[in-house]
Amino acid sequence: MKNTNEMEIRFESRSANEGFARVSVAAFMTQLNPTVEEVADVKTAVSEAVTNAIIHGYDSEVEKVCIRCRIEDNVFMVEVSDTGKGIENVEEAMRPMFTTKPEQERSGMGFAFMEAFMDSVEVESEPGKGTRVRMKKSIGKGREIWTTQSL
């Protein structure tokens, strides 16, 4: 039997909620007993995905962003979705340094950060319908070695 747990939050796409989003996800994640580094990785990835939904998905209009988190044993899954304008070309959008908003000084590193800090990142998007970013990370890799080591 797998040890599972789930949570879902929905909030308005206001930039003030970016901090709320990553802290909520981090709090839910603590039951996996993650390292400080692992929490920081997930917080960064969530922050990138939520920021994308707010500035690109909704073009700063106030709509709803949804985050779903699921735990399956030691695997942490987080899904950030919006019902905004969607992405025409996902592959292009995920290329490092690519940005559609250079005038706003977006670095184009959002997806690159998500990929660097999570084990996997999947993007589903349909123009006019919205975008869903699904990320996974297994928590506690290599910690076994420590706990079983005899003194």
Partner: protein, 104 residues
């Protein structure tokens, strides 16, 4: 935004968290100060910072673009391991110097 100007050098004391939410205001204020004081060097002080995402990289890159036109430089000080990782990963370390404190 907390900052200090000494001659042509601007030190920006970054907040605890640097994200899209507070990056916008920082950009606006920093640009105004840079323009007003003929700033050539910008120092980002990460003393209080424990979180930064790619929006922070945007702030650094943007300021670099402005001051590199007049031969200026951007620096990072008091960056912890996490912040260094973000700076390295984004390639920001190619355009900015990280000031290493002397270790005892």
């Amino acid at each position: 935004m907390k900052y200090q100007v000494q001659e042509n050098c601007l030190t920006i004391y970054l907040p605890r968290e640097v994200d899209h939410h507070n990056a916008e205001e920082m950009k606006r204020e920093a640009d105004a100060v840079i323009d007003r004081n003929h700033i050539k060097y910008v120092i980002f002080d990460f003393e209080r910072t424990d979180f930064m995402d790619s929006s922070g990289i945007g702030v650094i890159m943007g300021r670099y673009k402005t001051i590199s036109l007049i031969g200026g430089e951007v620096w990072a000080v008091h960056a912890n391991a996490r912040i260094r990782k973000i700076l390295t990963l984004s390639g920001a370390t190619k355009i900015m110097q990280i000031y290493e404190e002397e270790k005892l």
